[in-house]
């Protein structure tokens, strides 16, 4: 597959749009179907496509394995961190109303809170999917 010019050019053209679409799915998750989980999967799929066409080493030069492993943990930290921040602001754990810039409209905080925790979900899911893909694709075949 790595010598096929149509596949190579096609993957190169498609990948930025897939990444863009993942971000759209995340940031537009409040208004349309989708959210952090789907966005993370799509983002990982973009890099999986590149790895399939250009080889794992090329992709790992951009996204080293330690980075995606860190992402997997960082997302959980973001999610839990939002809860800690709302507690520090004097509300319950994960009560996003605390994040509102204008206290007279507490529901605005929900918007920021949801976006932030969904970002945490995105980062974790992306990191996990990419890690699992790296591990499977990186193993040298011991097949009969």
């Amino acid at each position: 597959m790595r010598e096929e010019i149509i596949v190579r050019v096609g993957a190169k053209v498609l990948a930025p749009f897939i990444i863009m679409f993942a971000l759209y799915v995340h940031f537009h998750g409040d208004y349309s179907p989708g959210g952090g989980f789907q966005a993370g999967v799509i983002l990982a799929a973009a890099f999986a496509l590149l790895a399939l066409v250009y080889g794992l080493e090329e992709v790992q030069r951009v996204l080293p394995p330690w980075f995606v492993r860190g992402c997997a943990a960082l997302g959980v930290v973001i999610f839990a961190g939002v809860g800690v921040v709302t507690m520090l602001l004097g509300h319950n754990y994960l009560a996003y109303n605390a994040l509102a810039p204008d206290p007279t409209h507490p529901e605005h905080g929900q918007h920021y809170g949801i976006l932030l925790v969904e970002l945490g979900v995105l980062v974790t899911v992306f990191g996990v999917m990419a890690t699992v893909f790296y591990l499977f694709a990186g193993r040298k075949g011991q097949a009969p």
Binding site: V25, G29, D30, Y31, S32, P33, G34, G35, F37, Q38, V41, I42, A44, A45, A48, L52, R69, A72, A73, G75, V76, F79, A80, G83, L94, Y96, E107, H108, Q110, H111, G113, I114, V117, E118, G120, V121, T124, V125, G127, V128, M129, T131, V132, F133, L135, F136, A137, R139, K140, G141, Q142, A143, P144
Partner: protein, 178 residues
């Protein structure tokens, strides 16, 4: 129509011994399920099914196939006992559905617990139109955090299985890098 296609794909999945075709058919199966979810107005679920089932898991299966070859050997036992167990379980499940209320009826208990509140009040309380997102991330924020942690734990498990194995082989001096 979609259900018929699903059943046909499932049957083909069982019969085919070439695992490459099986992986492709599994992707088709996921895509058909996603279509089914869309027909039933569960767009978020359909989205996830299409992205995970038809997208990522196909790639992961292909990666696994590259490791283990793509022909399934014939099973060494008769299929009668598994068939019996499957029929028994299926019959029990069908028997269980007889007590379920009709699909989509307005008087179903699922529509009268917190669902009314979510559907009517969530725009005022959360301020975003997609009720699925507000339930997922706000009303059920703890659940979603647990879910994120589970996803992370899954990755840790895979890492322990695959990376740990490779390291142990290397430590034993087992030749090439695993």
């Amino acid at each position: 129509m979609l259900l018929t296609l699903l059943a046909a794909t499932g049957f083909a999945l069982l019969r085919i011994r070439n695992l490459f075709a099986v992986v492709m058919l599994a992707g088709v199966y996921s895509l058909l399920s996603a279509g089914l979810f869309t027909v039933m107005d569960a767009v978020d679920v359909a989205f996830t099914e299409a992205a995970v089932g038809a997208g990522i898991s196909t790639v992961l299966f292909l990666g696994a196939l590259a490791l283990c070859g793509h022909h399934e050997s014939k099973p060494g036992h008769t299929p009668l006992l598994p068939l019996f167990v499957v029929c028994l379980t299926g019959a029990a499940l069908v028997y269980g559905t007889m007590d379920m209320p009709g699909f989509g009826e307005a008087s179903n208990p699922v529509h009268h617990h917190v669902a009314d509140h979510y559907l009517e009040e969530s725009y005022g309380e959360i301020g975003i139109p997609n009720v699925v997102t507000s339930v997922l991330a706000s009303y059920r924020g703890y659940d979603t955090m647990g879910e994120t942690t589970v996803v992370f734990a899954a990755a840790v498990g895979v890492m322990i299985l695959l990376v740990g194995g490779a390291r142990a082989r290397r430590a034993r001096g087992g030749g090439e890098e695993g």
